[in-house]
């Protein structure tokens, strides 16, 4: 007698799907509800950033980096301008460094708020979503005061930062920082403390420490698997060696820890910003850099701790005004590699949760 077998069903999740955080498609092979194989398909948002960089001058490429991980655009600017500065050997003024740290950490908070909100939304938690997005607006307001735009901020320049924050920026920042404990309590109450959310996230999608290292995973996803690695501590760039902060590490390796670790990181970011506001000196915000940027022949690789992982830039200069090669190491593109491995055997609703906890931004994945 034949044993009846469920037929394998290929299902296209995405590209136009609310839980795909952009344009991303995965072909999910299902046996009943169980996942047997996943093929991620990307490139719907591919703009050829690396090719574009070769026909633009060093300064002209800065706005393009905003469009990588567009939820934390100051960080992308920061990674790029620091790489060029390292190549040219430019020292930037103290005040600019502090302002960069303030905006970088604000971007980290904003990005993590979006991660928490969209994870909640993917698990059908509409209420929790609105709370995190409401608070993120205040960071966007602060961006707007200083740089004039809210999402793709383009705030950094080679040699410093584009503008001095206006007078109303500092009280807004202070009130935001004072309100963060209350915000986090709300997110916890609305989302992480919720029994359904915990049931959907806890023990789902286990990414072991060894696998995470082997897959080159970085950022909160790696730290939620119990590896204490943060570029800000491991190879302190900018002025991170002056601040007193911890690197949150969790050992749960599951979706819940990958999400809630971002709450811990917000706490640390607030600590850093408070210290930066306390210590910020007066002075210029731009170093004296030539109008035409012409780095010497050479190559450099530099990476920064983006909210989603390690964002690296590898620039090869041939001594002209345009780079010979700009290679971008996108953090979430590499982190995405865990998805086809980790999600195997889980149910279809779990893959949405696992994907959400990666906090993938397709602008960065597709470059």
């Amino acid at each position: 007698m034949d044993i009846e077998k469920t037929q394998e069903l290929p299902l296209n999740l995405g590209p136009q799907h609310p839980s795909m955080h952009g344009l991303f498609r995965m072909v999910v092979h299902l046996e009943g509800e169980k996942i047997t194989k996943i093929e991620p398909k990307m490139g719907y948002l591919h703009r050829g950033m690396e090719k574009l960089a070769e026909s633009r001058t060093y300064s002209q490429f800065i706005p393009y980096t905003d469009r990588l991980d567009y939820l934390a655009s100051p960080h992308n600017n920061w990674g790029y301008v620091q790489t060029v500065e390292k190549l040219m050997g430019v020292e930037i003024p103290e005040r600019a460094e502090y302002l960069r740290v303030i905006f970088g950490e604000l971007a980290r908070i904003a990005s993590h708020q979006v991660c928490i909100a969209s994870t909640a939304l993917d698990l059908a938690g509409w209420t929790a979503w609105s709370y995190a997005f409401r608070d993120r607006e205040r960071i966007c307001d602060m961006y707007e005061m200083t740089a004039g735009s809210r999402l793709t901020v383009n705030i950094m320049r080679i040699g410093g930062i584009c503008a001095e924050p206006p007078a109303e920026f500092w009280p807004a920042l202070k009130s935001f920082l004072d309100d963060t404990p209350e915000m986090l309590e709300e997110y916890y109450g609305m989302f992480f403390g919720n029994e359904i959310a915990q049931g959907r996230l806890k023990s789902v999608g286990i990414l072991s420490k060894e696998l995470a290292e082997n897959l080159s995973i970085t950022g909160p996803v790696l730290r939620a698997s119990g590896v204490n690695y943060d570029v800000r501590k491991a190879a302190p760039y900018s002025i991170y060696d002056r601040f007193d902060f911890n690197v949150p590490v969790r050992t749960g390796c599951d979706s819940y820890d990958r999400t809630i670790i971002r709450m811990d990181e917000i706490v640390e970011s607030v600590k850093i910003i408070k210290q930066a506001v306390r210590d910020i000196p007066e002075g210029p915000i731009m170093a004296k850099v030539p109008k035409v940027i012409k780095p010497p022949v050479g190559e450099v690789y530099h990476s920064v701790e983006n909210p989603k992982g390690e964002l690296g830039f590898y620039i090869v200069s041939d001594g002209t005004t345009k780079p010979a090669r700009v290679r971008i190491r996108p953090a979430t593109f590499i982190n995405l590699q865990m998805l086809p491995i980790v999600a195997l055997g889980w149910k279809i609703q779990d893959i949405v949760a696992i994907f959400a906890t990666l906090d993938a931004v397709l602008g960065e994945v597709d470059k």
Binding site: L87, N214, S216, A235, R327, I334, Q337
Partner: protein, 163 residues
């Protein structure tokens, strides 16, 4: 800086074994090897005593007009050591061994290098284009790739000839 001296010693030892050249540019060690030695080099770098470069940071292609290179950025999660390995690949016949057996994380990165530079990684489990569609012609990040579509190029050419 002791770490750096140990690393320098290890890299130089390795370089003599794999016929490589060592360079230091802006504080980073660069080890340049020929493509057939890449597996040996990376396996050895992963197991360096005291300064293991066991984390594959990044992998990308590089076009230097007369040849292609695959650039591996190695580092460690437990120390400050960083090493850049460059494998020289022939431009006409760009074939190199895949490192997916050493680091699974090279999977997407090698597919991207194949997509953009046409470098073929032998032993890769699924070497297909990752960003562009399967019947896309040419490899965009090569220096000789023409970005304008053929129609535009023809118009430009006619105008120059007509004037």
């Amino acid at each position: 800086m002791e770490n750096k001296e140990v690393l320098r010693q290890r890299v130089e030892e390795l370089a003599t074994r794999v016929n490589g050249e060592v360079e230091e540019i802006i504080g980073a060690f660069i080890l340049k090897v020929k493509a057939p030695y890449v597996i040996e080099t990376l396996t050895a770098a992963k197991k360096f005593a005291d300064v293991p470069c066991d984390f594959l940071h990044d992998l990308g292609g590089l076009d230097l007009v007369d040849h292609l290179e695959v650039v591996y950025q190695l580092s460690s999660l437990r120390g400050p050591q960083r090493l850049r390995v460059k494998a020289v690949v022939d431009r006409e016949n760009p074939v190199i061994d895949s490192v997916t057996n050493i680091w699974q994380g090279a999977n997407f990165l090698e597919r991207e290098a194949y997509d953009m530079f046409g470098i073929k990684f032998t032993g890769h489990p699924n070497l297909k284009r990752i960003y562009l569609w399967d019947d896309f012609e040419g490899y965009p990040l090569r220096k000789d790739y023409v970005t304008e579509p053929i129609e535009v190029r023809n118009i430009v050419r006619q105008r120059i000839e007509g004037e």
